[in-house]
Subunit: 233 residues, 2 copies
DNA sequence: CATTAACTATGCTGTAAAACACAAAAATTT
DNA sequence: AAATTTTTGTGTTTTACAGCATAGTTAATG
């Protein structure tokens, strides 16, 4: 896909401020070495163990970053939204992908060739630093998540997941309904529990008036209480 | 502490290959802005929530990086050995420390002022990139750890912890005894379980002939079996 | 629109691991 | 060396959660 077409399709360079630090030449070089793909719902973008060939930016849609765990249980590490980068960690650490990524809904992804990305990152200091900041944040989140998932009880973990969905994707126009309509299974994989426990706990929350449920739409009724639950189980 | 003294005390620049990419001026600048401290066993080096003022390199000893969890339970994120860097993530992400660090045994730490470190990292591309690689690796480890700790059973988690101690610190001259003599409590905090379960499971392993125990000395007798246990609980 | 498949809901059962309780043994401190 | 604290070891109880079964409900597909 040519440079022209990515720029007419969507304002690529405006999507993430990270691009701002590139020179015009570097931008051109990146875009010459990039393609755009569309993925259908649940299609796998890359799989744990694969060798990285591109760094990616999500243009449209939503994707999940997850790891296959023990006995069919998968754990969602994080959910991405448009303008988020992914797939660069493995190539910087010089290894294979540690996680899998699949489309949560129909998604458009901008693929930049490994070579091109690594070249630019090593010639543009500011660009490198911004990715470093990105990773430093992710690492902080990862460590916190690890303690949350291992030490909090089911209610706390689910409450936390709901709050993080709010932070990440925001609310519908009613200022209460999560804009992210996830299946119970995904919600379970995000909060490290079985699907039935996600369902059970969700209805518990509804019974208590903390949330209300309409299919996959979850309305947060008492966010303070949700925070309280997430803090102490 | 003067530059001269750090260089006579220990060969600072030889401790970690990361220093190699600095110019002599940059090295001098770093060292002018650095001090060396010694910490007693169990002394806290920095605490979760503190504002970072230095990046650090462990010179001698061992330290634990951990997070206080729910209800007095702490989780060891990783154990460091000499030449390892720490404390730089928070200042790159521009936040407070996300983890606490305490000396596992008497330890010597090289402290580089935040300003100096950030300046050099932003002026030396290669230096920046090397820290990025460091973080990319840590992030991979963190994600894997998260799945291990949440999905594996006690036996698997403990086996994994023992193997990671071997990888990180190696073995005594007998080529079997872990060079790291940890308390049962630390071992528990590393493998996300209660102290009594660490003790119990450790004796179980000993009964099964996988390891043998002499106080805090743990001898690995059947590493293959340990790998098997770690893989499938 | 009928059939199949996927998702949601709820109850029941089993169990892994936490919590608690108490000794005994080491290690520290006085 | 006595006294106190910390660590290790083991048994018992409790419980949070996984696992399974089943049924209703919604969505996908021929």
């Amino acid at each position: 896909m040519s440079k022209k077409s990515t720029q007419t399709e969507f304002k690529l360079w405006e999507m993430n401020k990270v691009w701002d630090v590139l020179t015009d030449e570097q931008k051109a070089y990146i875009d010459e070495n990039a393609v755009v793909y569309t993925f259908k719902k649940n299609e796998i973008i890359h799989h744990e163990g694969d060798t990285p060939t591109h760094m990616m930016m999500l243009v449209r849609g939503k994707v999940r970053v997850y790891k296959e765990g023990v006995g069919n249980r998968s754990q969602i590490i994080r959910m991405l939204k448009p303008c988020d980068f992914f797939g660069y960690r493995a190539m910087i650490a010089d290894g294979t992908y540690n996680t899998s990524v699949s489309a949560f809904e129909e998604s458009v992804v901008y693929f930049v060739k490994k070579e091109a990305f690594l070249n630019v990152i090593q010639e543009n200091n500011r660009f490198c630093y911004l990715f470093m900041v990105e990773m430093a944040r992710d690492l902080g989140v990862a460590d916190t998540r690890s303690v949350n998932l291992t030490q909090k009880h089911i209610r706390g973990r689910l409450a936390e997941a709901l709050l993080s969905l709010k932070d990440n994707y925001g609310l519908d126009e009613d200022q209460a309904t999560l804009s992210m309509y996830m299946s119970r299974e995904d919600l379970a994989n995000l909060s490290n529990m079985t699907t039935s426990n996600a369902i059970r706990t969700l209805s518990q929350f509804a019974d208590e008036g903390v949330i209300s449920i309409d299919g996959r739409k979850i309305k947060l009724l008492d966010e303070e209480q949700l925070v309280r639950i997430s803090r102490m189980g």
